[in-house]
């Protein structure tokens, strides 16, 4: 799960990680009041989940409270397009008004899981404010990596190594050591998968603060973080994906016209791949999961069909936990309820497959059955071209 910058900073402050003073607002009047309170000269920052806001015009400096109000007026309601939003962009509904600081250095600090090591790794670079992936590609040595034991947490020597790698000394060095330890605590205790401070700011006064912050959380650990769950902003998510998640379905919208309903994430990806190899384009990734009921299959059907690009649907089920007769019942009852506005190709395998096929055949519905994945893929691609 993702949160906004202002929410991530709220979490950081709970752990004593220094951040600039700021107020989140959604009207120009509130922006003016916030700027006055913060000393007039402020930064106005559009709050969307995607990165790259600065280049997209979502981060602006205001010299006084009136300009802060003006900029807020322009930003609220605008559609911000960055390299992470996709071409459709993301609508801005809140801005963060933050005190403007005297910048001395902009550094990079990030924590994420290194799957290969099985450890969390702190990454630090003196080249902050930039796309760290670009830095990593151009000059891998410019990034210091510090693997951290998940049980022990970051050790003092590790925090020192990070601060040295960032080229800090004196007061800023000490403040950075403290910053790293507190950030790691926040990361571990809130079950983050990413905590990225870019840039990590060193002011002319020698303070070390999180000028920007991106935090992602482990969806599997949200059960123990009700406060984080409360920060979810569904307006940032695809409405169909939100709808699907209500039914425990894993749905990701894509750009093609072949709707896919599959059990298992790996098979769902492989189904997308084979549709493409057969000359089609998948409209979505959809994993109905292991124990889906007829009701859930019906919901999956509805969600796929509410994407107007879908010209045909491929149902590919290899039953393990999920029984073929259950899938068949779901398909039949959903087809009856929703009608069949597009051709549906069904490929069933595994537990109770014969029973499932029988249910499909007896339904009298114009379902196209297939044997094997290639047969299914070619049939569904033909169907999108009206050759069913």
């Amino acid at each position: 799960m993702k949160v906004h910058e202002y929410q991530a900073k709220e979490i950081l402050r709970r752990y004593g990680v220094p951040t600039p003073r700021g107020v989140v607002v959604d009207t120009p009047d509130e922006a003016r009041a916030a700027a006055q309170q913060l000393g007039g000269r402020v930064v106005v920052k559009a709050q969307i989940h995607a990165g790259g806001r600065g280049k997209g015009g979502g981060v602006k400096l205001a010299k006084d409270a009136d300009e802060a109000a003006e900029l807020t007026q322009k930003m609220i309601g605008m559609t911000l397009i960055t390299h992470q939003t996709g071409p459709q962009g993301q609508k801005v509904s809140k801005v963060l008004i933050e005190e403007a600081l005297n910048i001395d250095k902009e550094l990079y600090l990030g924590i994420t899981l290194d799957r290969r090591l099985g450890m969390n790794v702190i990454m630090a670079s003196a080249q902050g404010g930039m796309d760290i992936e670009e830095v990593a590609e151009r000059d891998p040595n410019a990034i210091h990596r510090e693997p951290v034991d998940s049980v022990l947490g970051v050790q003092p020597f590790q925090a020192r190594q990070v601060a040295y790698a960032l080229g800090l000394e004196g007061d800023a060095f000490k403040k950075c050591v403290d910053f790293v330890q507190k950030l790691m605590r926040a990361y571990l205790e809130t079950d983050c998968t990413i905590a990225e401070i870019n840039p990590l700011l060193v002011t002319k006064e020698g303070d070390v603060l999180a000028l920007d912050c991106k935090m992602n959380f482990d969806d599997n650990a949200l059960f123990r973080h009700k406060d984080v769950v409360a920060m979810r902003d569904v307006a940032e998510e695809d409405p169909l994906e939100v709808e699907a998640s209500k039914f425990g379905l894993n749905y990701i919208k894509l750009d093609g016209n072949v709707g896919c309903m599959v059990n298992g994430a790996g098979l769902a990806m492989a189904t997308m791949d084979i549709v493409k190899l057969a000359g089609g384009e998948p409209a979505n990734f959809l994993d109905v999961g292991g124990g889906a009921s007829a009701e859930q299959v019906k919901n999956a059907f509805r969600i796929i069909l509410s994407d107007k690009n879908v010209k045909a649907i491929l149902i590919n089920i290899f039953g393990g936990i999920m029984r073929g007769d259950r899938i068949a019942e779901g398909v039949v009852s959903a087809s009856r309820e929703v009608g069949l506005p597009v051709p549906v190709v069904v490929r069933l395998e595994g537990t109770n497959v014969e029973l499932g096929k029988e249910i499909l055949a007896k339904s009298g519905l114009p379902l196209i059955t297939a044997d094997g994945m290639w047969d299914a893929a070619t049939k569904v691609v033909a169907a999108t071209k009206g050759q069913a």
């Binding site: 990593a136 482990d218 298992g264 790996g266 990806m269 791949d273 393990g320 537990t351």
Partner: protein, 300 residues
């Protein structure tokens, strides 16, 4: 022969009185697996669907002689269940549970490493964890320890290892005329207990395995590491498929591990590494069976 699971494996089911635990304990027993009981704290001493229920894994090991545990405990408690089995000296721990927090798994791995060091020091066998978030392991006609449909399997020479459950079934389905030695689902989580290399090494030294299908997916670098291992350590023919060739970057494709991030972990990169290691790759998932038969028949 086979790897890790055979007719002598004695299985207990952790979470046996739950819905999934009950359903699959019966499924495994019906297949012919030696399911010697189950564990549900507080229900020890009772009998459930003909299975003896114990309060702890240690007790199940002592009284029923279990050397394998199959875990269906819900995600918030699953890491604890894994650690309990490791502590009891269970040699094979198969965790089906999906949705365990990464932090919990890191702690469980840490515990496993320390406990295994202790087991070895004291002359006992270490524990192997398969999963979590996996379908389990099956050696056809000997032991089914997991949630896979047993009837599609047939004893034979093909070893199968996969990060995806249903794609494992797909590979089994496509090799039904040749048969499988053992099929292992290592699971879709970012930190699996058993990885490709563990399975490839075991298949390489297993006389019953003559060729290997390896099914990977986008995300991480496990496939690249496996490719490097195959190049220097595996003499048996290997066929590989990678799911997610069409997956967009930055989107998590269902499995916690399946994400292309920072331009890394793409299917294209993985295919390149696999081919460079002399592995026969297939682009279409429907070609796994045909290709493995071809390389198996052509083997030296």
């Amino acid at each position: 022969m086979a790897i890790w699971a055979d007719k002598n494996t004695k299985v207990i089911v952790q979470g046996i009185t739950g819905r999934e635990g009950t359903f699959h304990a019966i499924g495994c027993r019906d297949y012919g697996t030696q399911v010697v009981g189950g564990v549900t704290p507080g229900k020890g001493g009772t009998t459930h669907e003909g299975f003896a229920v114990f309060n702890t894994v240690a007790e199940a090991r002592q009284k029923a002689g279990a050397n394998c545990s199959l875990i269906f405990v819900p995600p918030p408690f699953a890491a604890d269940a894994i650690m309990e089995s490791a502590d009891a000296g269970i040699e094979l721990i198969v965790c089906i549970t999906e949705g365990i927090p990464v932090n919990d798994m890191m702690k469980a791995h840490d515990f496993l490493r320390k406990m295994n060091a202790a087991h070895i020091l004291e002359g006992r066998a270490p524990s192997r964890l398969i999963g979590p978030n996996c379908p389990g392991i099956i050696t056809p006609d000997q032991a089914k320890i997991g949630i896979m449909p047993g009837h599609i399997h047939k004893a034979g020479p093909i070893g199968i290892v996969s990060r995806s459950g249903t794609l494992t079934y797909e590979a089994v389905g496509q090799t039904r005329h040749i048969g499988q030695s053992t099929a292992v689902g290592i699971g879709g989580d970012p930190l699996p207990g058993t990885n490709f290399i563990d399975c490839l090494a075991a298949f390489e030294s297993d006389p019953a395995t003559e060729a290997i299908i390896m099914i990977g997916e986008i995300g991480g670098s496990a496939e690249e590491d496996a490719a490097a291992f195959v190049k220097t350590n595996v003499t048996k023919p290997v066929v590989a498929f990678i799911a997610g060739q069409t997956a967009p970057p930055g989107r998590r494709m269902g499995h916690a591990g399946a994400i292309i991030s920072g331009g890394k972990g793409t299917a294209a990169e993985k295919y390149k590494a696999l081919e460079a290691a002399g592995i026969s790759v297939v682009q279409a998932p429907s070609d796994m069976g045909r290709k493995i038969e071809e390389v198996w028949r052509a083997r030296k």
